[in-house]
Symmetry: C2
Subunit: 203 residues, 2 copies
């Protein structure tokens, strides 16, 4: 009804509000966590009315899902580009992969956490599924290439590694675990558990 109350904009239509909203949401996510990412807060930061986002996102879930897709995509691209200059050693490739995931989680807690908050995201979103599958397939591929034991199915080893990585990051982010150097090997604990895993499972 009222004409353009926002000083930062001289046109009624924003132009690329969808993108602007995602960026605003990301800033709020980084700063104050996912709980602070409300539609109204994002709209305020983007300088639009509280109901403008509804034109681009059905509800809060759709907004968070789009944000998650954005983050997954960036992560997958980074992994892909880092692997372009591929490490030679297959074990090092796995270590490199898991280190990327763990570092991402530890350095960007709010981003990492959002990626797995299925309760907040839209399970039926195709893009989200695609990005998640891409990440998982990459992990499974690397662990399979390095070779695993014969007692169990190949997927079992992939699931075991995936579980360990995700569980470790989750426990660290929740404050249930401290950053430590493994006193016997002198390596970081997050590297040690992966190394121990490879020691054990890799052929």
């Amino acid at each position: 009804m009222g004409p353009m109350p926002d000083p930062k904009r001289d046109t009624y239509h924003h132009g690329d509000l969808r993108h602007a909203i995602i960026l605003s949401a990301l800033e709020i996510l980084d700063a104050d966590g996912v709980d602070a990412v409300s539609i109204r807060a994002v709209a305020r930061r983007a300088g639009v009315s509280h109901s403008a986002p509804a034109n681009h996102f059905r509800d809060r879930g759709a907004l968070l899902t789009a944000l998650a897709v954005h983050l997954f995509h960036a992560l997958n691209e980074k992994i892909e580009s880092d692997f372009a200059s591929a490490p030679s050693n297959l074990r090092e490739r796995v270590q490199s992969f898991t280190r990327m995931l763990i570092d991402f989680g530890l350095k960007q807690p709010n981003r990492y956490r959002l990626l797995w908050r299925r309760d907040l995201l839209d399970d039926t979103d195709g893009q989200l599924q695609t990005e998640m599958d891409t990440l998982y397939d990459r992990l499974a591929d690397e662990i399979h290439r390095v070779g695993v034991g014969k007692r169990f199915d190949r997927d079992t080893y992939a699931v075991a590694l995936w579980s360990m990585v995700h569980g470790y990051v989750s426990l660290r982010l929740d404050g249930n675990l401290e950053s430590r150097i493994d006193p016997r090997s002198g390596t970081k604990r997050q590297d040690a558990i992966i190394e121990a895993f490879l020691d054990a499972f890799a052929t």
Copy 2:
């Protein structure tokens, strides 16, 4: 102001509202997940005014923390009692322990999830810390008794197992993983990853 609007109660004071609130909260948690556990919803179910719980719980975080303590305590007690009739074989003890944790998580998703929602709980609560430590110490104790490799610190193996268990349950609950039988060994996947872990790390 108004005198006793609740038909289910004939005394102004409830008697043991604190306990009743925790039970109501648990029912709502089981039925609709933690998001549905609002102070007002719990109060409604307990048949008291929306602000009655404030006399027993500072805020929603305190309520959820008390609920988590309740659940942790019950879990720890069950584990302790199950271990009274202790399995003889040390490896079986570990398998028994992790199976209890994993089964608990898979059968009571909302309860399990709450236990690790540090963002919703009060980190500074002493009881909560105690219960969590009890659980972790039990796990670490069992994995240490079974014996682990020598390349890394003992805690590294405990953290690795803990991470794997927690990660597996988390992934399953989030729908990122399906219940499967390991086709090579014929055992459940959740048993297979633990068995593989023990194969590898245990001396």
